[in-house]
Symmetry: C2
């Protein structure tokens, strides 16, 4: 490997000067600087960031922990983070917690050894505890919040997004609206449920526990919960589903039950995706600015690392995209359609 010493020798200066020439140009005479730059170029010099980090205790490295890299939503978040980091010359160490607090802990332990300068994390239920592994590290929580009182977070406005989605359904005339909701120890799930309740209240509809089924954010859970919900004697005419994966499950459940969208059932999902766009019928969804979410979180973190104060927590807006999976409920329903299996 080409080291600074070789460069210095070729440029006939000391290693110290060579170092300064390359990243403190103002401290060095123009002519010497040019010589050093020339030498570096000639030798193909690449600074050893490990040595630099060790010395400066600043690694130009950020940690990123997402809960499921296979979920396109998270992949998009990650891309936003990476692009923002790269633009400022930072390297991202990405880990995957798979929603498991234990894997998150291990990721943090590994990460710590790399002396990251900041962390962006999509929290699990134990993030509050786990973060004690990296005391003093600037942390931005992404998409959800761990609930730590001094947490800094970049999220979408889940309450309003959910409210808008459900208001759309009530506006169409639906009065029995089911919800498949995520785990209540995840902040997004709590907030989306709240939006659902608010929209019902605004429409003068009662909140019925029997219409709200929990799922564990995965397709299979969404499918199971939807099956149950749609097999009730008096099944809902519309469904609001709390995340992208479970929405897939809901659509499949409807299909299994022979329900045609939107004639027999309206569905609104949370989070847009190509899948939602290309399904037939195309899905009405609450779209999130996913890429921006990641990018903003990263820019925000970098700004703090560079010494600026923490800004206020950020809430990006969602947009309801009206496609073809929602329609007014059937004016009349034959008993056959309400049959239980």
């Amino acid at each position: 490997m080409i080291g600074l010493e070789e460069v210095a020798k070729l440029a006939r200066v000391s290693p110290a000067t060579a170092s300064r020439a390359l990243h403190r140009p103002e401290l060095v005479a123009l002519r010497t600087r040019e010589r050093v730059e020339q030498a570096a170029l000639e030798l193909g010099y690449r600074p050893n960031v490990l040595a630099r980090s060790l010395r400066t205790r600043g690694s130009r490295t950020l940690g990123l922990i997402v809960t499921d890299i296979l979920n396109p939503f998270h992949a998009t978040l990650a891309k936003g983070v990476q692009d923002a980091a790269e633009a400022q010359g930072y390297t991202v160490l990405m880990f995957n917690s798979d929603e498991q607090p234990d894997k998150e802990r291990r990721a943090l332990e590994t990460l710590q050894g790399h002396l990251p300068q900041g962390l962006i994390v999509v929290p699990t239920s134990q993030t509050g505890d786990n973060l004690r592994i990296v005391p003093g590290l600037p942390v931005v929580e992404l998409d959800r919040t761990s609930g730590l009182p001094d947490a800094h977070s970049v999220m979408v406005d889940n309450v309003s997004g959910a409210r808008e989605a459900v208001a759309h359904l009530t506006g169409l005339g639906h009065r029995r609206i089911g919800m498949i909701v995520g785990r209540q120890d995840v902040s997004t799930a709590r907030e989306r449920l709240q939006g659902y309740r608010e929209a019902l209240a605004a429409a003068g509809l009662p909140y019925l526990e029997s219409l709200v089924l929990p799922g564990n954010h995965r397709e299979a859970d969404g499918r199971l919960a939807s099956m149950q919900l749609l097999s009730q004697r008096e099944r809902p005419t519309a469904l609001f589903v709390g995340n992208n994966e479970m929405t897939v499950g809901a659509v499949l459940a409807a299909r299994d039950l022979g329900l045609e969208l939107p004639r027999d059932l309206s569905i609104v999902g949370f989070d847009d995706s190509r899948w939602a766009q290309t399904m037939s019928p195309a899905l009405t969804v609450v779209a999130q600015p996913t890429y921006e979410l990641g990018m903003v979180a990263c820019q925000w973190l970098l700004s703090v690392i560079q010494g600026n104060p923490w800004p206020e927590n950020v809430r990006l807006p969602t947009v309801l995209i009206h496609r073809s999976s929602t329609a007014p409920p059937q004016p009349t329903r034959s008993p056959a359609q309400a049959a239980s299996p």
Copy 2:
């Protein structure tokens, strides 16, 4: 930060002994070792991997460059790599080339400073050149090959996968089979085209250039190419599409043209996905062992890093999954159906 020195002090040994106790246990008396371990635990000691790497010139770090992290195929590859690396205590630095040789080059430059011990790369067209940035680094090419004569690669058997797909179509009785093929500077595209030709030949069908349209691996290209292909006077009765993204485009094009699958058109895609599974009709595809691909590549690289010789290049098998988008061609076709727009 807690350093080895603090641990050593608490355990009343020298830093050197503390270091040995923690990762060369056999060189240290059992009792001292226990004292050191205890001390490390008590203080929450985490080794500074930067310092370690600097000293040992071995960073326990691998580079991974994929061409599109938003493509679920690549996300799955990445997960396979990460899981395999983590299992052996290696950290993965992941980058995204977006199919741009230039971004690939920058990724390699950044990576080099981190002293990676190996690299896994999904090559772009310039990877051969770019790899000169990291001379001597063990490299595994994943999914595709750069064409370098001494490249080591982990791929699927594209020729046979494509051949099987097209043979399936000829077996159903199709005689006009179109193909949407990727860029010919990407090895997978070349190989899949070859499989297509072989299957046609085996069925005694001529290879018609007019039935083979190129696309740039993206949905939009697939859609455009399919539109053209399906608007021909005598349009194909079946389509073989060279990758997952373009298959989406092909399905949308068919939909736009009012063609019903599989009655008016059979489609086989390359690479399975949830989208392919949940589309209606569910898509017949050539499935790849994507996760295994990433995992094998990583295990392979690690084995080489640990001093073993390079194994033979690996070709994992594909599996044709027969779903509902393929059927025998219509026995008769009314002129109306073959109309051009």
